[in-house]
């Protein structure tokens, strides 16, 4: 029946699936249109080339930075910062979030504090962190942790709190000890949502990276952006931004893959 429906009806029906081919073509078309618009604008000199380099120039910059190896070096430097900060933050946030969502007492202690800190602007802490721990990698990693940890705790606590009560009750009637319920029931029940939280916050970690590297760094994608700004190399700035975008996209895909592997029962 669905195949006989006009594609237009399907496209305009909420939650209705469209064909795989349509999905892929839509994705390609929108990219072609964006790049074409960019190409036209940069070649008609509506915007001076100094501010908007053409797609070819950005591509050339990419090739140049790749061939002298600096793009790889700076990407790895950024990757190290993001992965370290994100891993440390997640490893602590998962148990803390689960406790906060499971135990009212932990919630009472932590929630007022966490909800205050998570609305503080991370950027404002950068000068303070430089004063406290200098301009080494620790400072950049700290910025990432500060930006992601409190958000992760709140979101993970919410998913723990959303676990159906009767799932826990069923576990009790099957002999689960009170001290083991978080580990045996609440954690696995919340796992798909926890993985979604990690996926979303990893995206945020990438945006905090630039904040961390703009101010105090001697390597990384944020650092080459700043250096390029000083030398009016707009093409390099574009290149660095695009690289971060691609890395973000890859980490998103990685977490989707991980979720499908680790939580196959919650397949979407």
């Amino acid at each position: 029946m669905s195949s006989r429906r006009a594609p237009w009806t399907r496209m305009t029906t909420p939650f209705r699936d469209i064909s795989r081919r349509a999905v892929i073509s839509a994705g390609i078309i929108v990219w072609v249109m964006v790049v074409a618009a960019w190409w036209i604008i940069s070649h008609t000199n509506v915007v001076p080339a100094m501010f908007l380099p053409s797609p070819e120039k950005v591509g050339a910059a990419g090739v140049r930075l790749l061939s002298d190896g600096s793009l790889i070096v700076h990407t790895l430097a950024s990757l190290e910062v993001v992965m370290l900060g994100f891993a440390i933050s997640s490893i602590v946030a998962i148990p803390v979030g689960l406790w906060m969502g499971s135990y009212r007492a932990v919630q009472a202690v932590l929630e007022p504090l966490v909800n205050f800190v998570r609305y503080l602007p991370v950027t404002a802490f950068v000068p303070l962190l430089i004063l406290w721990i200098g301009i080494g990698i620790q400072q950049r990693v700290s910025v990432i942790i500060l930006g992601t940890f409190f958000q992760q705790v709140v979101m993970i606590a919410d998913s723990a709190r959303a676990v159906p009560r009767d799932l826990v009750n069923a576990a009790y009637t099957l002999g689960t000890k009170r001290s083991k319920v978080v580990w045996h029931v609440i954690f696995p029940a919340a796992l798909p949502e926890i993985l979604d939280t990690l996926r979303v916050t990893l995206g945020w970690a990438w945006s905090y990276l630039v904040v961390a590297e703009l101010v105090a760094a001697s390597s990384g994608l944020g650092y080459i952006t700043i250096k390029a700004m000083r030398g009016f190399q707009v093409d390099v700035i574009f290149m660095a931004i695009a690289t971060i975008g691609v890395l973000g996209l890859l980490s998103d895909l990685f977490f989707r893959f991980l979720r499908a592997r680790v939580a196959p029962w919650a397949h979407r």
């Binding site: 159906p164 009767d166 799932l167 009750n169 069923a170 576990a171 009790y172 009637t173 099957l174 002999g175 689960t176 009170r178 029931v185 696995p188 029940a189 796992l191 939580a263 196959p264 029962w265 919650a266």
Partner: protein, 282 residues
């Protein structure tokens, strides 16, 4: 309290399946609910269960019927130790219980299978918590999945099962733990009437095999009479016991029992008791 005995409408079964032994004087009932009261939310809160006492004997299938919202679920949760009672005692084989434990299994009204475990792992969950070894656990799961007719679904996740199948696995999971008492809180309430009939038939058969002590809650009178050895009728909120009715139909029971005049007479009697309650409310 009224007493009414329905005589057996069919030939007496050749062998009495479970001769209900009279408990020797002085020995405790399998499950004793003694003057249990529950008030939600402090001294001024809702009185949900008011001074209820029920003894359930070993191998007895006891059914509670009552209007919706009368405190049936609350009573089961109290007996299972999942809710703290305001006053009264719950005893299993004479031992006071105050928290949930594997000696009191439960099949819930909603679906409570662990979604991250396969059907087999769900059934093995209780034995695993008890520390039973892998091979034996697997054998237990095999046995109870076969009992509920789902052996071939052992390796799928619960999300792939229909509602009726989920409740069958929930039953297998509770039985695999070999509880002293099995609570069932309107386990078929969310199912369509055809599936419900299938489930009742299955439960009758499983119960006849396993000889569990069951306390079953429903608001469906047919279901209560069909399944139970005894039907306890509760009043509208706050839940009190209005009547206890012995159901003497021979076992094994068949689904067409509901067409027998004796069955209908019993149903009319219980319906009358319940209607009093509903009329009083309005």
């Amino acid at each position: 309290m009224t007493e009414l005995s329905a005589s057996s409408p069919v030939e007496p079964a050749p062998i009495a399946l479970f001769p209900r032994q009279h408990r020797p004087l002085g020995t405790p009932a399998r499950l004793a609910i003694e003057h249990v009261t529950l008030r939600y939310g402090g001294p001024d809160g809702t009185l949900a269960v008011d001074d209820v006492s029920i003894d359930v004997e070993q191998n007895e299938f006891c059914v509670i019927v009552g209007p919706s919202g009368c405190g049936k679920s609350s009573l089961l949760y109290l007996a299972a130790g999942l809710t703290e009672l305001t006053s009264g005692d719950i005893r299993v084989d004479g031992h006071l219980v105050s928290e949930p434990g594997p000696d009191r299994g439960m099949v819930f009204q909603g679906y409570t299978l662990f979604p991250w475990l396969t059907v087999r792992q769900n059934v093995e969950y209780g034995p695993k918590r008890k520390g039973i070894g892998k091979a034996e656990r697997r054998a237990i799961a095999e046995r109870f999945l076969a009992e509920v007719g789902l052996g071939q679904f052992a390796d799928v996740f619960p999300s792939q099962l229909s509602g009726g199948m989920k409740q069958r696995v929930a039953l297998a999971r509770a039985l695999a733990n070999d509880p002293s008492v099995l609570f069932m809180d309107e386990p078929f309430g969310a199912l369509d009437s055809q599936t419900r009939g299938t489930m009742q038939k299955l439960l009758l058969r499983v119960w006849e095999h396993t000889q569990k002590t069951v306390l079953f809650v429903t608001h469906d009178i047919d279901e209560a009479i069909l399944l139970g050895d005894r039907v306890v009728v509760m009043t509208a909120r706050p839940g009190r016991i209005k009547a206890e009715i012995k159901v003497d139909f021979a076992r094994p029971r068949a689904m067409d029992l509901v067409l027998e005049p004796e069955f209908i007479a019993l149903k009319r009697h219980i319906l009358g008791l319940l209607h009093d309650e509903i009329d009083e409310e309005h």
